[in-house]
């Protein structure tokens, strides 16, 4: 059974389709890369899966482990095992990194989730030295890259069934690409599935499957290499290559 199944999904704003008849499946332990140009609907799809405020499907179904979750609020989806790392994570005044990485222990009682390791372990997984970060606040004193790594660590600590990673590579220096790849692989090793939104081919290539989205429609699905090639070829039938460019 698929972990996540999206069937004929529509999402419209002012009668304009942002997501159009989109169908997509993700299996357990699958890394699924989602490619697409700016404005193609990648982040909107992520928000619809997560259930963010203002993002309710106009039509279609989002099914998680066989259950339609269209109407569930964000925290109930999270307790089912879906979570998301935003492209630009927000800052929190007065919450330290150690506490942020153990939010699950304090508030989530789902027995279906695996037990967490120590916060230090998750910081090491994202390439941060625990002794330098555990006591720091998750506030504006962190750089964009540091905050992003801490967000990834916090998502790892949740041991989710499905992690939506919205451009985890943006804002992190090129030299750290391998770190990001290691983190994405760590999700898979921990038993999570990943919906990986990215613009970078070298990162998309680590996925098991890939899809390309344009104007809210999935226009290609297959192996990451095939989809990546298709993406670069600008042969998109929806926009005729006008939008789907690198």
């Amino acid at each position: 059974m698929e972990l996540l199944k999206i069937k004929n999904l529509f999402y419209s704003v002012n009668d304009r389709h942002i997501i159009k008849n989109l169908t997509l499946s993700i299996s357990p332990h699958e890394i699924h890369a989602l490619l697409g140009a700016n404005g193609s609907g990648k982040t909107t799809l992520a928000y619809l899966i997560m259930g963010c405020e203002g993002y309710r499907p106009t039509a279609g179904e989002i099914i998680f482990e066989g259950k339609i979750i269209n109407a569930l609020p964000v925290h109930e989806r999270a307790r089912l095992g879906i979570t998301m790392a935003w492209q630009e994570p927000v800052r929190f005044e007065g919450i330290c990194v150690a506490d942020y990485l153990t939010l699950k222990n304090r508030f989530v009682s789902s027995k279906s989730l695996q037990p967490s390791l120590s916060p230090a372990h998750y910081l090491e997984m994202v390439g941060l030295e625990p002794s330098l970060y555990l006591d720091r606040m998750v506030d504006k004193s962190l750089s964009g890259g540091e905050r992003k790594r801490i967000e990834l660590a916090s998502i790892l600590a949740l041991n989710p069934k499905l992690a939506i990673l919205d451009e985890p590579d943006s804002g992190i220096d090129m030299l750290s690409t391998q770190d990001i790849i290691n983190v994405i692989n760590a999700f898979k090793e921990n038993g999570s599935s990943v919906l990986l939104i990215t613009h970078r081919e070298e990162i998309a290539l680590i996925a098991d499957k890939a899809s390309q989205i344009c104007h809210g429609e999935i226009i290609a699905s297959g192996s990451p290499k095939e989809v990546s090639e298709y993406y670069k070829s600008r042969r998109c039938l929806v926009c005729e290559g006008e939008v789907c460019r690198e």
């Binding site: 997560m50 963010c52 405020e53 609020p73 964000v74 925290h75 989806r77 999270a78 307790r79 979570t83 998301m84 935003w86 994570p89 927000v90 929190f92 005044e93 007065g94 919450i95 939010l103 699950k104 508030f107 989530v108 789902s110 916090s154 949740l158």
Partner: protein, 317 residues
Amino acid sequence: MRERSVVNELNELLNAFGETGADKRIFADKEIAHLAASGHKILSMRGVEGLEVDASETLTGIFANVVVKEGVILKNPVHLCFGVLHKKGKQRIKINVRLEKASYAHFIAHCVFPRAERVKHIMDAVIEIGEDAEMRYSETHYHGLYGGVEVIPKAVVKVGKKGRYFTDFNLTTGRVGILFIDYTVEAAEKAIAELTARVFGHANDNIKIKEKIVLSGRDSRGLIKTRIALEDEARAEVTGITEGNAEGARGHVDCTEIVKDRAVARAIPIVNVTHPLAKVTHEAAIGSVDKRQMETLMAHGLSPEEAVNLIVKGILR
């Protein structure tokens, strides 16, 4: 007879102090200086080497004169425990604090009014910080659950050359009642002044905070940081004033207020620069809890209520 009543009242004050989560054993420690007063009665007082504490009961309240001698670094904080233990009462404290050159002291004030239904507490402080001296003043209040307290702390502070003054006012547990803080700090050359206040208002609490830093010395620094959370019908007005009057003076006013329910918040940052090489900035954010912060915490499994509580606790931390 008076001695027995003083001991009883001191025990009661220390018990109330302990109930707020503080460690009341510090008042028995001979290495730690303190002054404890209930209403207009001084209950206990202890000095340590290098610190002079002279306190007396007057017709209108309590008068205290505190001096930290030149070059003295007080290794332990000085505890000031003030309170009114009855349902009704008044406490007026006039305190003069002087830190002599190159001295250091950390004062921790505990103001407890656990059963207050109609209590007024007025604090009038004059603080003088000498050259290269540093004073930290942490003030934690507990006003009970009835909102029947009116607290009016006023301080006029002068920070000498290279002096440092840091305050931290906390009233985040229980009701506030009526609070009107009025602090003015003047910073001399290369002096630093940082004023922080954190208050959580509930029901019909009424909070007014007016803090002013005058950067009159060259290369002086000032920061006014205010964090307010309000719920129910509580109201708050925060006025942060910074004047940059000298070359290289740098000041910042930073106010965040989170409002829930029918609460009303107002922030008035005032910056006044009279020297072309001074710079003062301000930021103020008032609103309900940030939607993105909420959704991020909810994506970690927190319910909306848990998320709001964590965000509010965070800004008041």
